[in-house]
């Protein structure tokens, strides 16, 4: 039986925020694009995310991407008529000298690039966050222009604008094979069709390393478990929907308001690694559940209770668990690999894929259509580990990425002053 064949300019594997943003930006520039999604659009990591947006990163180029991303989102909100960005402001808090130093250097760096950030006196912290324990804090800083993106709204905006510009979306269409000839990809295969295109984008999220294997490429990403809790609204403990997001790196937790309740999530020291090969083909990430005796949940509850003493195991709450995609250095992989033409990778967004996605779409479309980008991509190029023999075997990759994930909040950061811009 011969399969039906459809031809496009670009095939995007994966209907998460990375693939959807890329597809939309390509279509805005006139490309004919199809998005192939194995399950449902936006139901991978994207469907689990809390959407926290902290724009100030240790690297000024990443900060620029996130700040530009906010502008893209504001345009999207108009085009799609939805609220995506909720500007709550964000706060970092420090209860140790090392963390206070971390905050001090972050404030210095932020100010040097004109980003709205400053130290916040303890009484102000208390006023902004009456539901948080503050008596042990040494310092805090506040970024008024931060907040969060609502993942579901962002997905629907990408799809709406994409559709308006001719993007085709196919759910329940797992890509099972990469079509290649002479070191160049020319399309992909699903169970019931062939798709031909000169460019294939691997935006497979946690599955991205398996997709890379289809093009005989090792992509050092790993699938790592993550948990957060959402308390139910409680009249005894009102939480304003515009309360600032909180990052408490010492306790490894972050927090933001959600529908009258509070989200508290944790970057665990020893997170769980998933073997994506062993999950069922039709694996539905939204059906993932934490066990009643999960050690990860217990650790999360413990840390949450230290910062928000009113949260106890008896507090009515939902636990959300999902899979993130980590890389050995915590930065994504965007672009081509030297061994094969026509395949662009776009994966490994750790805990920041939602908020990185607006700029990532622009970057990917520039790379694909122009061959270069208006951003400096050195730190996110796909081939930066291509020749590293220690990052070839699955187990080594998992170990390295897991270490990175464990250090994510754990390690004290020393942001370097940005290069003169």
């Amino acid at each position: 039986m011969s399969l039906s064949t459809e031809t496009y300019d670009v095939i995007v594997i994966g209907g998460g925020v990375a693939g959807l943003s890329t597809a939309m930006q390509l279509a805005l520039r006139g490309a004919k694009v199809v998005v192939l999604e194995r399950e449902r659009i936006g139901n991978g990591s994207t469907g689990r995310a809390a959407g926290l947006l902290g724009q100030l990163r240790g690297n000024s180029e990443h900060t620029r991407m996130l700040m530009d991303g906010v502008e893209i989102v504001k345009e999207l909100e108009e085009k799609a008529d939805v609220e995506i960005f909720v500007q709550t402001g964000s706060m970092r808090i420090a209860e140790t000298d090392a963390r206070a130093e971390e905050i001090a250097s972050l404030v210095r760096m932020g100010k040097s690039i004109g980003f709205a950030i400053d130290h916040l006196p303890a009484d102000e912290v208390k006023k902004l966050l009456p539901y948080m324990r503050t008596d042990d804090l040494i310092d805090a800083c506040y970024c008024a222009t931060d907040g969060h993106l609502q993942p579901a709204e962002l997905v629907s905006a990408y799809v709406k604008v994409g559709k308006d510009h001719g993007v085709t979306y196919k759910s329940n269409s797992p890509v099972t094979e990469m079509l290649m000839a002479g070191g160049t990809a020319y399309g992909v295969k699903t169970q019931d069709a062939e798709y031909h295109a000169a460019v294939v984008v691997n935006a497979g999220g946690p599955w991205s390393y398996l997709n890379a294997e289809m093009s005989e490429t090792t992509l050092p990403t790993a699938a790592i478990g993550h948990y957060y809790l959402t308390t139910r609204p409680d009249s005894q403990q009102p939480i304003d929907r515009l309360s600032p997001a909180i990052r408490n790196r010492e306790l490894r937790i972050y927090s933001r308001p959600e529908s009258g309740g509070l989200i508290v999530g944790m970057y665990a020291a020893e997170p769980e690694i998933y073997d994506m090969k062993r999950l069922p083909v039709d694996f539905d990430m939204s059906a993932m559940k934490a066990s009643q005796a999960s050690i990860d949940v217990a650790l999360l509850l413990d840390a949450a209770q230290r910062r928000f003493p009113w949260i106890t195991p008896q507090t009515p709450m939902n636990i959300t668990t999902g899979i993130m995609t980590f890389t050995p250095d915590g930065r994504p992989f965007c672009g081509k690999m030297p061994n094969i033409e026509g395949v662009y990778h776009c994966a490994g967004f750790s805990g920041h894929g939602i908020v990185q996605s607006p700029a990532i779409g622009v970057i990917m479309s520039e790379l694909i259509l122009d061959g270069n980008s208006s951003y400096d991509l050195t730190s996110i190029s796909a081939d930066r580990y291509f020749d590293v023999p220690e990052l070839k075997a699955r187990q080594d990759i998992d170990t390295k990425c897991c270490e990175m994930a464990g250090n994510y909040y754990g390690k004290v950061e020393r942001p370097s002053a940005p290069a003169v811009s």
Binding site: L279, P280, D282, D284, A287, K289, A290, S291, Q292, A293, S294, I295, V297, A298, L299, L301, D302, P313, Q314, P316, I319
Partner: protein, 249 residues
């Protein structure tokens, strides 16, 4: 006061369930197993009763093979004081499960058996009723609220006609419904304590019971889903279609 809480190991039914090719059961290879959600609610209620009155002891019990220890460990982590596993490699039907529980009740003499109204694998909804009848104890099924007083229990039952409140003396059997409470996640100290606890093992022989099958599985098949989809263009049309389909059923 002693509360016995049976806890069954069941596959997580929120996952995609597939029937084995030979129709002998469901494919369990890839499925996570959990404490039967209704049993977790029963356990949570027992813990809340203990939080109210300090003298309560909670004993979690399971009838099954070594793998059931995982669920008993969960029960201990959530807050059960002790755990007993009645070793049994077969999967028992409700009647035989009740026989085992009865023997265990005679050994442990609890004041209250607090259990799920049903297990989500078989959905039988019989074990609690069988057990109460075998013991000749009062029972309240489908509990959505339990008030544990000094000398009696007040239970709200969910019935098709509405909420019925019943009063029971001790000892009694109560089976719990979904709306009774929300089971907690285990705390860190809870998990640590549970790790050190021993799970007592008893054989069916020790209890003097034998599995005498009353229910036999002939074949397992998945229900046909004959879902018809129609696209409608307005909410009025949707309302009309719903009205029609309600009339025709």
């Amino acid at each position: 006061m002693k509360i016995l809480v049976p806890a069954k190991r069941v596959p997580d039914t929120d996952q995609k369930i597939e029937v084995c090719e030979d129709h002998s059961g469901i494919e369990t290879g890839h499925l996570p197993f959990v404490v039967n959600p209704f049993d977790a609610i029963a356990l949570e209620e027992a813990i809340r009763i203990r939080e109210d009155r300090v003298d309560a002891e909670i004993v979690a019990v399971s009838v099954g093979d070594l793998e059931y220890e995982e669920q008993l460990r969960t029960a201990l982590a959530m807050g059960a004081d002790r755990a007993i596993r009645v070793d049994c490699i077969e999967s028992l039907d409700p009647w035989n499960t009740a026989c085992v529980l009865k023997a265990l009740v005679e050994q442990e003499s609890p004041d209250l058996v607090l259990m799920g109204k049903q297990a989500v694998d078989g959905d039988c909804n019989q074990t609690g009723q069988f057990l109460a009848a075998m013991l000749d104890w009062p029972q309240a099924t489908f509990a959505s609220r339990i008030k544990c007083l000094e000398d009696k229990l007040l239970v709200d039952r969910e019935t098709d006609a509405g909420i019925e409140t019943v009063e029971l003396p001790f000892p009694a059997v109560i089976t719990v419904d979904l709306r009774l409470n929300e089971p907690r996640y285990a705390s860190l100290p809870g998990i640590m304590k549970a790790k050190k606890k021993e799970i007592a093992e008893i054989s069916m022989g020790d209890l003097g019971v034998q599995n005498a099958e009353k229910m036999h599985t002939v074949s397992v098949r998945s229900a046909k889903t004959a879902r018809k989809r129609v696209m409608v263009s307005s909410s009025c049309e949707l309302a009309e279609k719903l009205r029609e389909s309600l009339k025709s059923t």
